[in-house]
Symmetry: D2
Subunit: 343 residues, 4 copies
């Protein structure tokens, strides 16, 4: 399968390059960005020297569709909702890593992203690409989930699908490394403001909240809202999400382990930890794994899920390749079995 | 006031030196440790060269009581419960930074610390030194609170004292820097295991839980238990505690701000943040401040407190100096108005 | 002494506030910046809340001279060479932390800073404020040295003054934390580009080179040039400079220790380490110390100086306060005996 | 080719697993360590869960030689000099990542490692596995170079082989991340001592010095010694080596670029940077590249090489796989074309 990557110079775009370079069935045919057009990518990204010597091109849909079989959009929000339209209209496979096609309601996009949404028909047509729960295998337009949303939904799915928890009891306390905030320069990404620091931001206003709610309510429409806290910790990669819920009925710790183990038995990228063991961030960095540990507190009837992912892999480029594998009819692990980079 | 410091080579002991060196009414008369006795402290701690050239001494209670007016124990748990006894019996002022005198029930100490408790009469005699809420100004034996406990209790006090929250709804998600774990070598403090990582540890089993519960139940005996998660983040200093509670009745954000502002109006080290602003860890590092921000989510009826302290200052040595100021009859801010070290 | 600080919101300006707040003879009368004029500084710098509640003002020389006895310029290069002129003309004491008055030759400033220099008469009038070697105690205009220059010159002074080394043999390999690069947003200060990284920049083109050469040639005019490498390491504060020179004659290690010990015997902020011990960066952070270790390699006849300073203290605000102490006739350690912040 | 790894739980051993897992011609048959024998490796190293589920075994040479075609020793120094002997005697291929077979002179090993050397015949038989310069392709016993030695020798080879520099002018200022120091617990690897710090250690006494000298003198026997400084910087992986030399004759910058470009024209893992560009540490992390930038200072006649490698890849496990590729007759890039992990 030949692919093109639009937005290649962002962190997710570069990570797509890193992963796809090792995929046995994929060839990267062209890479696209708005800056440095015409230049070989290794000039500004010297880590790629001798590995990828493609020039950066501007986006010409006809040319891309002629040369490739699928296009990734790894652009900031607000770009693909316009730039991807020619591809979608032509029925050409699109995997969009931005938030532009995740929300089914145009008003919701407008509210959380502060921009006009893509045309409603395209929003309806898009399939939400949470790979472990993706239903429509035939869809040509995939809205790849947000990194926080991936961590939160994988933490909650087994419980919410079975309606086991009090609908108003969900609290997600999520911590992220800086690559999740993208390359844009701002005082909040200056080394001095991040190093030796921890910062809570977008309290209950993060744009991943509506896609989480949309999916949770598909599973259990009784869920009214959730408490969602997002913080930055001084690491480059990774999301560490601690999720608290109150089960409808008290149960044993084993009971909840069994629920999770059964729910993810067929999913090679979800690794439920041994009882009493909680995953550390580093054990998934560089890989497509989502590792989950559980703690059930009998005294308070609070069940805690500790979930870690690499925001750029399972939370972005890796999951996008899972979605490519579905589109291409390949085994879901193809090209994605790389080991975490430890230490 | 002349003071002696036992356990001077631990992080809290060294921080006591840093703070007391600037206290206008205090002179450090002697410093004590079990290692390197006889050596000047600046040999192993070269940052002190030319500043503190006292030799490290072993502990001789008679000699200390003859030379000093007060003794700090900045020792690991299990030391002061024996080593401080001669001082306590003699009615000599003791401020203990360890957990040995914090719990009123010997069985509780035994359960959470895995050691035999100090004699019950001394546990009863000790006053819990949460400075903002310390009642008995005359006490000679002060049990300085734990760092996590300080952050959690200051986050909850205004609400629990007024019985405003559902008793079973408290969730504390606390993140700490590595100095909180002390100098002991273990794989969990190796740079490689901490850097670019985040780790949850002692889930619901941290030894600060019983002192938090003991104090919360003094304020509202209906509190049955709490959910308490402790994590390590890759910073040297600081605790960032996110605390979630469910108010008994829905209210406005302003209402909760007013509660906190009123509760801490007379407390110079508690800084309630402006509405919509959450404190970042770095804004208290090196100082004795405890900064608190609030977020009330109408949709979920969850009130969140975001609280930051420097675990070695307000969470240890700084609060100990507040307690010294109470004992000495000095203004509580004396020697403690140093600015945070930013950036 | 009443002082005003222009450029208070930069890292050096904030550090001046931190230090001067504890100086027993100084009162900060006004603080100045080009942004957020009229706002209390604690709004944008919440670490100052309750400590400094002065409003930020624009710069009105008449008003400053009426209210204060001395003005600090902690502005980026290119500002004070114009904004300080009214003060200098009036004979009002100015301590400039920028590079604008350090170079005696206007052409040199133009070459290294890419800007037109201050009027020549003012360049001539300024005294270079390397505190340990400052000659003219009466000067009203002090050009506070650059951070790299401070580390390099203090490493070399005892040798160069005595003309002990081969003039063409000086190599300075200096590593700096990010606060040295200031608050300006650039991709090189983005957390992702700094964390887990090390970067060499401005190879042999750093603007501190000419002031180092100017001073070295005062001491030994035979010095023709030096090799000067500057790198960024992922820490917030500190300069770690490794300086290599070839002595004219082979000697013993003791010989060089004696040279350094004698040269700095009267300087409380220069701490020569014990033989065989090299300073670590952390042992000076937050303090005004410059710690120096020596290693003489008989086999290669290379003498290595390992020198650490806090770039914001001894390399900027602390040395500026040393210069204030000289102007005010105070003991040079006044207000500067704060302990390093360890750990 | 079937391989066994002795010392699998060290950082280099784990990195061998990460790399070999992707090598198309290699199968890991068994893994060995002295601890946790019998346990699956993913119990203590949860990042490997679902990827490598081999049990850890003790070392039985007969069994290993029966099952595998080659054995790696990724053990600390002092182990393989005894444990590898049965393999060597049997003519079984051994790649030793420790220092035990690098030095040709037993006395030198004794001096620098403080231990008795391996039998002299085996020292003589071993080939030094600096892959780009490895002569004897048939050797069965490969002594894989040290990480610092790899960076230093690749920086110097083109110049020293052609005898272009003053023999007594070599200064290597090398900075390393913490994984280079191994997993052993010591106060120097405690997070608090590393974070926000930089430390110089083993000044002119690092055990990689003799292997560097041994190789340099093979190329130019006039080299008498070198100045070699090793420091720790707060990163997990990577060596950043700045090497200063004085050319025998002044020349242009282009001249030196041409020397290096020609010397490494056939070496895919050595990437000479564009003129005026210096490599940053991060651009090689996770990969087998050694990136080199040059700066020639006409004023001082000092040529500087700025060289970066990942100490665990090109400095250990990656170079070991290069050596496996030579032994197996595979293309040298096989299994080693993974992209650096950026960001």
């Amino acid at each position: 399968m030949k692919v093109s990557i639009v937005g290649v110079t962002g962190y997710s775009g570069l990570e797509l390059v890193r992963i796809l370079r090792q995929h046995p069935q994929v060839e990267i045919r062209s890479i696209h960005s708005q800056t440095a057009v015409g230049q070989e990518i290794s000039v500004d990204y010297p880590h790629l020297k001798g590995l990828i010597d493609l020039p950066i091109e501007s986006v010409d849909p006809e040319k891309i569709m002629a040369a490739s079989d699928l296009v990734f959009f790894a652009t900031p929000s607000g770009i693909s909702k316009e730039m991807a339209l020619p591809f979608i209209r032509a029925g050409f496979p699109v995997i969009d890593l931005s938030g532009d096609f995740r929300l089914k309601k145009a008003g919701s996009y407008q509210k959380w992203y502060g921009k006009k949404a893509a045309p409603l028909e395209f929003l309806q047509q898009a399939v939400y690409g949470l790979a472990e729960f993706r239903k429509d295998k035939e869809a040509k337009l995939v809205a790849n989930p947000g990194c926080y949303a991936t961590a939160a939904l994988l933490s909650l799915a087994p419980l919410v699908q079975k309606k086991l928890i009090e609908p108003d009891s969900i609290i997600v306390d999520a911590k992220s490394g800086l690559s999740g905030a993208g390359k844009k320069l701002s005082s909040s990404s200056h080394f001095i403001e991040v190093n030796e620091n921890m910062t809570l931001y977008k309290m209950n206003t993060h744009q991943h909240i509506p896609e989480i709610m949309q999916q949770l309510q598909k599973w259990d429409e009784a869920i009214p809202a959730l408490q969602f806290s997002t913080s930055l910790i001084p690491v480059s990669r990774g999301i560490f999400a601690t999720t608290y819920v109150r089960p409808k009925e008290k149960a044993s710790t084993d009971y909840f382990y069994d629920i999770f183990s059964a729910a993810y038995a067929a999913d090679p990228f979800i690794r439920i930890q041994e009882k009493g063991h909680y995953p550390v961030l580093k054990q998934v960095i560089g890989s497509n794994f989502c590792d989950i540990g559980l703690a059930y507190n009998q005294a308070t009837n609070i069940l805690t899920m500790v979930t870690v992912i690499d925001n750029l892999v399972k939370g972005a480029a890796g999951q996008a390749v899972q979605n490519l594998n579905i589109i291409g009819g390949y085994p879901q692990e193809m090209g994605l079995r790389m080991l975490p980079v430890y230490p």
